[in-house]
Symmetry: C2
Subunit: 352 residues, 2 copies
DNA sequence: CCCAATGTTTCAAGTAGTTGAGCAGCTCAT
DNA sequence: ATGAGCTGCTCAACTACTTGAAACATTGGG
């Protein structure tokens, strides 16, 4: 038995005493065109030999590999959930997602380390002729020029969290930043806060969502008279979280509420507050964004906007599938905005 | 331009005025067999047309797709790190990992839901002719019988965290449970604890590691006179975490230390302790296992065994690659045991 | 001027399967 | 008797590319 390779259709056909075309047709389900005994025989033999369809060949012939490339690092629970949504929808359609990312996904700066590496990863996907791509902005921006090639070759591309401002050439899906930040702002204002800080992420070119989120928040706040916002952000490498948090909390007068553009930055605020002896929420209200897995377990539990990562993933996958089905193959790129929900927990309270 | 498909080798060959075989050879690097101008011309044309190698065809011809199937859910930071290790090693070897899992990876019972679904996922991988498989026990047990088929077809299989007790037919890689639990036990004993509880996971058929970890811990404790262990475990669905934790803490006499087989169970102990008004570590020492991402952020920070998930992933991937290279193609299956390190944090202290 | 040696390029047969067209052989109505 | 229509099956061309062997062209030596 040693070294036997996978059984081929030829083997099945020979063993069942039919032509390859007959075997092929029967195994693909065209049973009614053949005699009942022939069908039975072929199916039986195929089962015995352990034959299985070869999607490589199918892919070569039809130009459809039933594989979708996904460039998303499982960086935190948000992205893991996005991946879960993608997997569920694609699996149901007999498609296979292939996930790649650059470098070490746990260290943020790494996955922007070199567009070259990212391009290499994309190439590894395209070399295997994936039918479509789902990308996270980190990569999307750098490969903007390559999108044209993909679009021309009718490889659908869906980008998560990064609407192209210029001429949009790929579908995009993102959290509804306007409505979300409005909910955060109104929550804080209703609690009586008038001196609010906004703690943004690094806002690199890859983080268009962070810019949109901060700007949108500032915008909403400015529409309310008597309320002030001041914004901070991480440095380029995201390495000075606690320092920025301490700087925010050392302002005079100290803001009574902080909105952080993700739950990650909220952790820095918690740490800085603890080291400065400030109590949350008595001295300081904190609102995060994302509702990551650790948000509810913090002391106090973090008030945050719950995004819908699984839905984002599901809709991204569905969008790719629809484009492949030619559903609206010629309609121009769309942007889908997914809602979010304010989860009020113990980290926000009335300004005292 | 609309609808143009990916450029084929034929297109390149025609445009460069050479045969397909010439183009093929030049593009695969056999430049020296051809005239310098011809080489230049072919490479130039290929670049202009945007030609890229077609690994589908390569896979068909050589029987090697350079894809490795991975059946691991990104359930928590441990598994995400395992995946990261796998990705890094495989990417470096120009292999592509394809990750699949069953159902909704965030809800534990789900990914044991139906061996049928798991088999379907494996099939989706084998249909695409992956060169090897890396599996997590959850799936491995159910497909034990199918392993033979794979072994016979020389598809290397590496299993993580589940050594087959019977006749071992697949390579296996796991955390060194004996040495790890010994370190935990000695830590607690050195702190003077003599009444220790062990909080295990569900110990279903898929969780051989949990059984080994608990038994190993009990064993080490029993070698010390004057020290007692009693063990608990979650119910079949893992839904009664806090209840079990409260039961443990309501014992009379109450254990002064609890070892939980993963950090997840430690969360239940924290919650139960808070609701019973017990202070950690003054009233109760807690040791977890895994050093998941939230462990250090808990209040107090959790003492835990830091596993080396990235190394586990790396070695699993390397093992598959070595088997494919025929390194020790005929040597019998091995079991690799990876060490772990005790990280002492604030959740353990001297028994008072 | 012819043969050999070398350099450059092509032929053709694979890889594993799919699919439109077509061909036997049979029944049945005309 | 014969053509139509049917069932049951096969032929051959096609997918994109690789590769061992062979062919063509050029140059140098005898």
């Amino acid at each position: 038995m040693a070294g036997s390779t996978a059984p081929r259709l030829k083997d099945v056909a020979q063993a069942a005493n039919v032509s390859m075309s007959a075997a092929s047709r029967i195994l693909r389900g065209e049973c009614d065109r053949f005699g009942e005994d022939t069908c039975e025989r072929v199916l039986q033999v195929a089962r015995e030999l352990g034959w299985r369809r070869n999607l490589l060949v199918n892919g070569m012939q039809t130009g459809r590999t039933k594989m979708i490339g996904v460039m998303i690092p499982p960086y935190d629970s948000f992205w893991v959930d996005v991946l879960a949504g993608i997997h569920i929808v694609l699996a149901a359609a007999d498609y296979l997602p292939i996930t790649v990312w650059v470098g070490d996904c746990q260290e943020i700066p790494h996955f922007e380390k070199g567009d070259e590496q990212g391009l290499e990863q994309i190439s590894r996907l395209l070399d295997r002729r994936v039918d479509g791509l789902i990308l996270w902005p980190s990569f999307a921006v750098a490969y903007y020029s390559h999108f044209r090639e993909l679009v021309e070759q009718r490889v659908p591309v869906v980008v998560i969290d990064h609407e192209f401002s210029e001429d949009q050439i790929a579908d995009s899906i993102e959290t509804d930043e306007q409505r979300s930040t409005k909910a955060v702002a109104e929550h804080l204002i209703s609690l009586g806060h008038v001196n609010i800080a906004c703690f943004s992420s690094r806002e690199t070119a890859w983080q268009a969502w962070a810019v949109r989120r901060r700007e949108s928040f500032e915008q909403v706040i400015k529409e309310h008279t008597g309320v002030e916002v001041k914004s901070w952000r991480l440095n380029q490498w995201g390495s000075n979280g606690v320092e920025v948090a301490e700087e925010i909390l050392n302002q005079n007068p100290r803001p009574t509420a902080v909105f952080t553009v993700t739950d990650h930055e909220a952790l820095f605020i918690y740490e800085a507050a603890a080291s400065l002896g400030l109590r949350i929420p008595e001295d300081l209200s904190v609102v995060g964004f994302a509702d990551l897995d650790f948000a509810a377990a913090l002391q106090p539990p973090l008030t945050t906007m719950r995004q819908r990562p699984k839905e984002i993933g599901r809709r991204a996958a569905q969008l790719v599938l629809d484009r492949l089905d030619g559903e609206y193959s010629d309609s121009s790129p769309t942007t889908i905005r997914v809602g979010a929900e304010l989860i009020v927990r113990g980290s926000t309270t009335q300004r005292i």
